[in-house]
Symmetry: D3
Subunit: 153 residues, 6 copies
């Protein structure tokens, strides 16, 4: 398999979606499970509310990962949730060319992730953690930090 | 307080909405809790998916009841869920004039609940349990039972 | 009751929230009902997914309106949905001082609704319909229209 | 590949499901994106509420399309949303035999889409747009238009 | 294909996920459909709230089944819902080694399903129906029945 | 107004529910807003997925607070979200008698919050943060920490 530098446009055919239905794991544990799965290298983890049999409000856990990570993430799911089964299927991921740019604001530097198409920047997302830290340090609304960056990019 | 016969149009000012947020009660128990609350006289019980702090998918339990039923329903919520607090507020309920009509179908009788306005029937709902029993007895789609009734009313 | 000019900061004590649980109205009708309720003057209408008894995925319709509009909106709910009952309770609404400003972009004028506190603009929302029309006329992403305005305000 | 007339029962093996998780695209834009995707030929587009990391309520956009449409729809997703990646996987679609029938009502003609199995009509859906127009023209509840058709089919 | 005894750890490559979007099937029917699909052998059935075009709150029905069951379940979906199309894709299911153990409580026997890894029990789920029956018979909270079992296993 | 010690059973009549509909605040900001509202003293904050006009997936923010906290929380909502209006209504909260007990486990001490009725403990919730820290320190599943406590209480 050819290896792509992570930032160039490419199509990744080595990804899996992994799913588990949970009707007897308390919500309290699920915040913890999400953190553990991210730490272990999941590309994304998210919850969807579902309705299961016998009037049970429940949760569908979905995660995206590289095939090579599956075994490790499976172990976490088995150890940390109540499920006895884990289902998965392959998917393809198209990823835009991307680059990180440092924007100088009046409060300091903020990273902005940019998406490029045909060499042109078509979208820009300020790094949330950078914005959050500035909002907290200067006691200003997070919204104002984002607004300032939108003015500058 | 004046008492209304249950089927006449009236405005009920003696109702409460009761709410509990649940992030550590497993979904499996919640189907059971719903049944218990209906048995004890709740007018309605329903679940809404919510997102609570620390990334917890959780459930908002809401129930509607008469003020006189509150104490009994509160006991069930305290006994059967993990909550330590229960919140509630009064609401007003407008109820249409309603009557039940028996419709004769090729498979037998089905009750239809009708809503009236100014003495005129403006809506008709076949009784779900009657339709379900016929669908199961005659091994026909539930949809076909409803269609037949819509043709007759 | 004192009348406020609509744009000044004020607290409105004449509002109601109206609610209906719907487990036998098809989703297809509900888009239509929403339009009718807005046309008749509802301040807001929105749907929440709920889980009702007997494993029924259902919908909670909520609307906000002035007390004077209640009767008319009630008629629509009774005529257009399958419900036989409508519940409601009063609420208070705090509304910020607001003003509309016209922003001149390279594609034409766009209205921007501004929220003020202590005489200072603290937030600005481009008018969606203005942005949509420009995006469609010039065949540019809606996102780019918003970005341009954020640069200008 | 053999081409099927669109109305005959067939199994389509050329379909894709395309997915994007969105935690920084405002809801306001997503109504617009849905319209653009339908205009460009998506078979279906729908949103699911999800919970992402860091306590973010977010939206999963899913769309169904023919493989040949993927490139065009991908361009719209990249241009109109904030995502940097798009995932997809093939699926198979079984489609019933279907036909359109014109039903004559007291208010005019309404198309009804019928589903057939073994040559027999087993379901019938009135065309929403036809029903909506009649409901608006004659100022009658949409529900009554559907009821009338159910009586006739 | 090699056949596994159902309780040993194994990876099942013969499963399908089947999906239907429903915007004109009333919620009332969907509880019934779920029961029918389970009776006919579906491994799991669950509903997810979705938002479809034209402001329609709708429901995504998903079911998991063995490929051999697909035809029978397809017939139920076509007969009992309003859909004209059914989509599906294969998935792989990893299943833990499991065993059932009978736990003796002060109220009688309760089955507990245990999940094993490397021969060691790493999770235990009391059988819901056993617990429910005891809770109802002895008029004790379901929560207390579970607590008692957690003390014993 | 009589003041209750916080741990005794009491009915609190000084609470408000505050609500905001958000269709143009990105999900990314909402995780931040939740933290700010908790820091400022909200009793609870939670998000519900809703569907608003023009096909917009949106979010209902709800918070519970004492009337005295309303002004401060209102300022945060106005500063950190895009809303121009905030609605609220009073509610009553019943709170069980509660006490905190320290449970000695093989890994160290864990607080358990207990709910009492007529002087008897009827429910017990281990403190999540205590359990999380032990799970991380000893690299054991969170589930096992809870199981151990359930065995001891």
């Amino acid at each position: 398999m050819k290896k792509h530098p992570p930032d160039e446009q490419h199509t990744d055919t080595e990804m899996l979606k992994v799913e588990v239905n949970l009707d007897d794991t308390p919500g309290e544990w699920l915040g913890y499970v999400m953190d553990k799965l991210f730490e272990a290298g999941a590309n994304d983890v998210y919850y969807t509310p579902i309705y299961m049999k016998k009037n049970r409000p429940a949760v569908l856990l979905q995660l995206l990962c590289n095939k090579k990570q599956f075994d490790q993430l499976k172990e976490i799911l088995l150890a940390e949730t109540t499920t006895l089964g884990i289902r998965y299927y392959p998917l393809t991921v198209f990823r835009m060319e991307r680059q990180t740019r440092i924007v100088q604001t009046k409060w300091g530097e903020i990273s902005v992730k940019e998406g490029l198409q045909n060499g042109e920047v078509i979208k820009a997302s300020p790094e949330y953690e950078d914005c959050r830290k500035i909002a907290e340090k200067y006691q200003i609304p997070l919204k104002d930090v984002y607004s300032e960056i939108w003015r500058l990019v």
